[in-house]
Amino acid sequence: MNDLALLDADDRAALAAFRLRLGDRRFRGRAGGRRGHGAGSSLEFLDFRDYVPGDDLRHVDWRGYARSEVLRVRLHEEEVAPFVDLVVDPSASMAVTAAKARAARALAVAFAQWSQQEGCASRLLQLGGGVVGPTGLGFDETTPVDAPAAPLVPLRRAGARILLTDGLWPGDPAPLLHTLQGGASRFLCVQLLDPWELAPPVGDALQLVDCEGERRLELRLDARTVAGYRQRLQRLCERLRTLVVGAGGSYVLVEAGPLGAMASGPLSAALVVEPA
């Protein structure tokens, strides 16, 4: 099944309208079009080094040898196709509402497509799981945990890593983020939240059911209750942002919605994507 088939026409149009910004970081990867960490065969001059037998004579700086009679070799920058590991939170909380599930799936497909368009070798991984295709995203993990585990598959070094999650764990996210950010050239944390999660309406009396368990809580969402909830949510998001940004990563909070709105809104503002 084509990944784009998971998107509707509007989302596909938004997908084509934006491109992923990877920045000028140096990545590792197969030969490609982006600057790598080492010397390569690009046209961009990198440095000189002494000649050692076996070097390609075509890279010897003959003009310098004429001036100094020292054989030196011209080095050029390496051009690579970066690895992009898109790590998706598979927990049921990502599909707590239809809008959130749709937005999560659209973002996963979009990041994969944008990565490929940038010549990156992308793969989709699940927290606590392995590599999956976009069609294999289930958001059906209902085992309540304090914090999800890192993917079971080793992450590729010096690549870009994108974490797509709602971050709604009661536990400390630091260990997970430390694992995900370790060895990454660039790390992006996209925290996706439903509009109701961001601002629940005041006044309703509800029986709240934990989507990852059977815990129930009957509450009247009066102004005081909602204010307390929003305060806790803000602290949680701030903690997540601090951990990510403190480790050199990027953090963006996205309100679930159409892909176009998300791309042109918070993702563009956080310089994650830019118009194509």
Binding site: S93, L168, L206, Q207, L208, E212, L217, Y229, L233, L236
Partner: protein, 593 residues
């Protein structure tokens, strides 16, 4: 604020029931959330095994609470004091004895009682009489009813009050109160009536009978029969004509009654007789008019031979109050040999002489029940009969041969007499003048003017309309202008004009004593009536009482229950209840979605 069905207030138990249901509710709309740990842990539902929860003051809770409250009030029959409308049906006893002070006392008490009614209360005022009369209402406002009371002047003789009380009961259906204002103590019945008697026992004298008698000596006299009810030893009778006092006579009562005969001077027109002041004035005065002139106009159109044989000129001279009239259109009685045109009210005698003649000595068959045949005997009469068929009902016959018949006509009356005046001795027998006298008296009824000049209060004054007012074209009788011109009025001594009813004979109800004048549409006087009061039982004031008897407790309770008009409160409550239930349904449906 009152409740017509206090037991319905038990439905207010629904209010705590609603609160309890909300306290023990176990179902709220579910919502799946991701960050349950972010919500404050002040759960409404504390945990398993406990069902009582913190009371949620949701819109649905308030709406259901209000609905339960309204339901209780609706079933309880909420009634605001101001909305309770009283309907008082007042029946005024119109008998003349009420005029002996009872009326005034009754009006004072009635004004006081009606003044205590509210603006939303209603009053109906009825007056007793042979036919119940509604003076105010039905359901007039109190001030409208009070305004009608001034015109109430009780004048009627004793009459049955039941039809009026029955009408009052009909008007009071649905919680109304029935008050009867009279001057007598109640009987054993009428327990549903609030009986208010304002009479006071008093002695009274009355004129029970009074007439003008033409004496044999040519002097007219007044004969008055007086009666005293109570401790009245003597009384003075005063006779006046106009402003002139003719005579003053004192009568000593023996056994409570006495008769006075007073000669009158010549030329007295309207005579006013009155007694000295006593408790009741209406029975102490009488007006006597001179005997009316009611000449019958006879038009003789018989051939001269027949008229002479029948001695018509002599008869017309001998019969009292008969005049010869040449104009057949204005005569009341026409004598003809052949039938001619008649107008309404005319009477025609056709002496049919054409045919085979046969003298008949009897036996004769006479319809003695007919007024024309009254006094006829035909004893020793040889009737010169003419053998022919006569139209109409047979009045006199000899065997199968009709001799006298009455032919029914649309206009007037026609009598046939199959008689050859020259044959036999009928015209010379006493039966012929008797027959003519009967015919003249029948025709006299058609003479224009009052049929009786002296009438009693409570009765009817009847006036015979003149033939000249009869429409020539029957179709013209439907013309409104013609109807207006034919209308007759009776002008009472109090200046009140009453319209007459009837075609040829016009009747006027008489409710006041004194001289009444009949007027045409142009207020021209056509005749006079003298009305006086005569009822010994009403003149006897010795049994009058002042007392009050309330309606029976059962009747009062039933009326009080029915009188509470809680209609609008119940309608408003029902409407509110419906709206609130709808609103609650809408709120719940919206919450579930």
């Amino acid at each position: 604020m009152t409740f017509t069905a206090p037991f319905g207030l038990l439905a207010l138990l629904a209010v705590p029931a609603v609160v309890a249901l909300h306290l023990f509710r176990n179902k709220l709309p579910e919502r799946r959330v991701a960050g349950l740990f972010l919500f404050p842990q002040e759960a409404l539902l504390a945990g398993a095994g406990r069902t009582r929860t913190r009371l949620l003051r949701t819109p649905s809770f308030w709406l259901e609470l209000l609905a339960a409250l309204l339901l209780g009030l609706w079933l309880g029959g909420l009634s605001f004091g101001g909305a309770r409308s009283r309907h008082v049906v007042v029946v005024l006893d119109d008998s003349a004895s009420m005029a002996a002070g009872g009326r005034d006392r009754a009006l004072v008490a009635l004004r006081q009682r009606l003044g205590g009614l509210g603006g939303g209360d209603f009053v109906s005022v009825l007056r007793t009489g042979p036919r119940p009369e509604v003076l105010a209402g039905p359901k007039a406002l109190p001030h409208e009813a009070l305004a009608t009371l001034d015109g109430w002047q009780p004048t009627l003789p004793r009459h049955d009050r039941s039809p009026t009380l029955d009408l009052g009961r009909e008007l009071a259906v649905g919680g109304g109160e029935l008050w009867f204002l009279t001057d007598e103590a109640p009987g054993p019945g009428d327990l549903d009536v609030t009986w208010l008697a304002f009479g006071q026992s008093a002695a009274n004298a009355a004129i029970l009978g009074i007439v003008r008698e033409p004496g044999a000596d040519g002097i007219e006299r007044v004969r008055a029969h007086l009666a005293a009810f109570g401790a009245i030893a003597s009384i003075e009778l005063v006779l006046r004509t106009g402003e002139r006092e003719l005579q003053r006579v004192r009568l000593e009562f023996a056994d409570g009654e006495g008769t006075v005969v007073v000669p009158l001077p010549a030329g007295v027109d309207v005579l006013h007789a009155s007694l000295s002041a006593d408790a009741l004035a209406i029975d102490s005065a009488a007006w006597l008019l001179p005997a009316p002139v009611r000449d019958v106009r006879v038009c003789d159109q018989l051939p001269s031979g027949a008229a002479d044989a029948l001695a018509i000129p002599r008869l017309l001279t001998a019969l009292p109050a008969v005049r010869n009239e040449a104009d057949s259109r204005t005569a009341q009685l026409l004598l003809r040999a052949m039938p001619g045109p008649l107008r309404a009210g005319q009477l025609e005698l056709v002496v049919a002489g054409d045919g085979e003649r046969r003298p008949l000595a009897g036996p004769f068959v006479i319809d003695r029940a007919h007024a024309v045949c009254s006094g006829l005997s035909l004893q020793g009469v040889v009737f010169g009969a003419v053998v022919r068929d006569l139209p109409g009902a047979v009045l006199v016959a000899a065997g199968a041969l009709p001799l006298c018949t009455e032919e029914p006509l649309d206009e007037g009356r026609r009598f046939w007499l199959a008689l050859d005046p020259q044959l036999g001795n009928f015209a010379r027998s006493p039966d012929w003048p008797v027959l003519m006298a009967n015919l003249v008296e029948q025709a006299r009824e058609q003479v224009p003017g009052p049929l009786q000049t002296h009438v009693l209060v409570g009765g009817e004054a009847r006036f015979r309309r003149g033939m000249e007012t009869e429409p020539i074209d029957p179709a013209a009788s439907a013309d409104p202008e013609h109807q207006r011109r034919r209308t007759l009025w009776l002008l009472g001594p109090d200046g009140v004009r009453v319209q007459g009813h009837g075609d040829r004979t016009v009747g006027f109800p008489v409710r006041t004593v004194g001289v009444h004048t009949v007027q045409d549409h142009a207020q021209r006087p056509l005749g006079q009536f003298a009305a006086r009061f005569l009822d010994a039982t009403e003149s006897d004031l010795r049994l009058l009482r002042t007392m009050e008897r309330a309606a029976s407790a059962d009747v009062q309770a039933a009326r009080q229950s029915a009188a509470r008009d809680t209609g609008w409160e119940r309608r408003v409550l029902a409407l509110l209840l419906f709206v609130i239930v709808l609103l609650d349904w809408w709120v719940l449906a919206r919450r579930d979605t």
